[in-house]
Symmetry: C2
Subunit: 346 residues, 2 copies
């Protein structure tokens, strides 16, 4: 059984810690099967050499354990494979996607009794371990899909906002890393004037109006952050140039995605999104940085089971079982070749 948990962009300009959205791609894949012993085993992590398979130290294991605890019935066990398909510390909600994948996979494997609020709560255990604080602005949109408002964290109060059909998201990720915990500490230690707060209050309220009305011009005017962007911009290489390039190329608005270094922009068409992404990547290149781009609509379905052609891992396991039971097999070489080329892209 395989689960896809989408990458996310949080803050969206004025909405620090309260707004986030899900992307169509990238996203992490989590494969899960019922384990023999109670608890979580992480069989393998691909796509991120630095991550441990210790289930108490990897967010996928922490969130999966939280989901096992919350499920009704007897103690159960789960074996997990985590396929990281996005960079760590990128501002794409990498730790949130892995956490959500772990919680959603366990829930899907054992009957789906958990609500989306439960899944967010379980994934937040992973997120807290990764960044030091349990903020839901990546986790909630990865679970629910769409654009999500976190009205309050304790108790959790999540609101899905309307997504204008024409809205397109551009995310450009430069090959640099920002440590979320350090970026959050910088903001936590800062003190703000009432004028900074008022600017963001007006813009976050207007952004919500824009989403309800489908008013992309208003949405663009509202993508302004007087609170956190000034504090964090120095952590994002070439941010001013990339933002300028995005706006000059016709972006509705542009800001840092999460704690960066990825930069988020909005447009109202696919062609516009490509032009903006080109301009942003060119600005990173001019600053000596390679980058990746993700362009598309908001993902409105959120994390969930994916079907289709079995992954190489699934096929390899089926093969192993067949070999163990001495059944005739075929395609062994093809599958092994797939594995060596790297795990498939889902």
């Amino acid at each position: 059984m395989r689960v896809f948990a989408p990458a996310t962009a949080s803050n969206l300009g004025p909405g620090f810690d309260v707004l986030g959205l899900a992307l169509e791609r990238p996203g992490d894949l989590v494969e899960a099967e019922v384990g023999d012993r109670p608890g979580v085993e992480i069989v393998e992590v691909t796509g991120a050499a630095s991550l441990t398979t210790n289930p108490r130290e990897n967010v996928v294991g922490i969130a999966a354990a939280a989901a096992l605890e919350r499920l009704p019935g007897p103690a159960r066990g789960v074996r997990l494979w985590l396929h990281k398909q996005m960079p760590l510390g990128s501002g794409l909600g990498s730790s949130a996607a892995s956490s959500v994948g772990g919680a959603v996979a366990v829930n899907a494997l054992f009957g789906g009794a958990l609500t989306s609020d439960d899944l967010v709560a379980c994934a937040l255990r992973g997120e807290a371990a990764a960044s030091g604080t349990a903020h839901a602005d990546n986790v909630a949109p990865s679970v629910l899909g769409g654009i999500v408002l976190i009205r309050a964290s304790d108790p959790l109060d999540l609101i899905r906002l309307p997504v204008p059909a024409a809205l397109r998201v551009v995310l450009v990720h430069p090959h640099a890393q920002v440590l979320t915990a350090a970026a959050r500490r910088l903001v936590a230690e800062h003190r703000f004037t009432i004028g900074q707060a008022v600017a963001n209050l007006g813009n976050v309220a207007a952004l919500v109006v824009a989403l309800h009305r489908g008013d992309l011009a208003l949405l663009g005017r509202s993508i302004q952050d007087a609170l956190v962007e000034p504090v964090r911009a120095p952590l994002v290489p070439a941010f001013a140039e990339v933002k300028r390039a995005a706006l000059d190329a016709g972006a509705l608005g542009c800001s840092i995605s999460g704690s960066g270094p990825s930069v988020l922009a909005f447009t109202g068409s696919d062609a516009g999104a490509d032009a903006v992404a080109d301009a942003m990547q060119a600005a990173f290149t001019a600053a000596g940085l390679e980058s990746d781009r993700y362009v598309g609509p908001v993902n409105t379905s959120g994390a969930g089971e994916v079907s289709g052609r079995p992954s190489p891992t699934d096929r390899l396991r089926a093969l192993d079982r067949a070999l163990e039971s001495n059944q005739p097999t075929s395609g062994t070489d093809e599958v092994r070749a797939d594995i060596e080329r790297g795990r498939d892209s889902g």
Copy 2:
């Protein structure tokens, strides 16, 4: 010609400086007639002994002069009568209502060429003179009616929000005064944590959702202010007790109106509003303070010309003209008796 400019409640919990709403009553009345000389003359101010008739020092004159300047065509003159019908320094937007009345009266008198944005800009000149800063959270709803979001002040970007039909406003004004300029200074000098800002960002965004959905329960949960209420609550006598009383009596939410000392609460019915107002007034009484109450729906029409039975002032002027021209008259005694009892309530 007479104009009614409604009182307003600003902030509405989480929306410091960005949200305001208009009340059905009270409101200031401004009477206007074409003057012989260019510029503004304030003939009389009733209802507030402390206010000057110097047009350069009274907000009604400052806003009227701004409107005269902005009107196309030759220099014109206006004579104004200001009938204050609400207490000063009350948190009801008293200076805003007088400013709006001055601007709207001049515009109505000379053909109505000014837009609502123009009128807000003119009234802001008065507001700036009264409080030291030109914030539009009282002026804008007094001009436009309804619940208004001020996305940004420079340039001004106003958005009218939907008003749920069942929404009722309770405003209780204790007989005490808070100086707006002093209350604003207290907030201006304060420095805020990111946590305080995030709490208000989540709530102001959720309040906007609640207005769009007509979700009064969500509206109630969103009327929370972690930024300004803690700083200003000590300026409002018995605020904690009055808020407690409002919530215990079933208010959806409760916070300080503007810079106080009036306290604002919301309910979803007329009966509920009366019960909440009773409880709030009882709490002020227990603290040794008399109070006034204003209960009703949001005023969705805003400032404008009022017709109906001429006011005593109108009738007195008609009488004077008739006497000057030696025409037969009647009712002189009745009108003079009205005048002695005080200007009518509009």
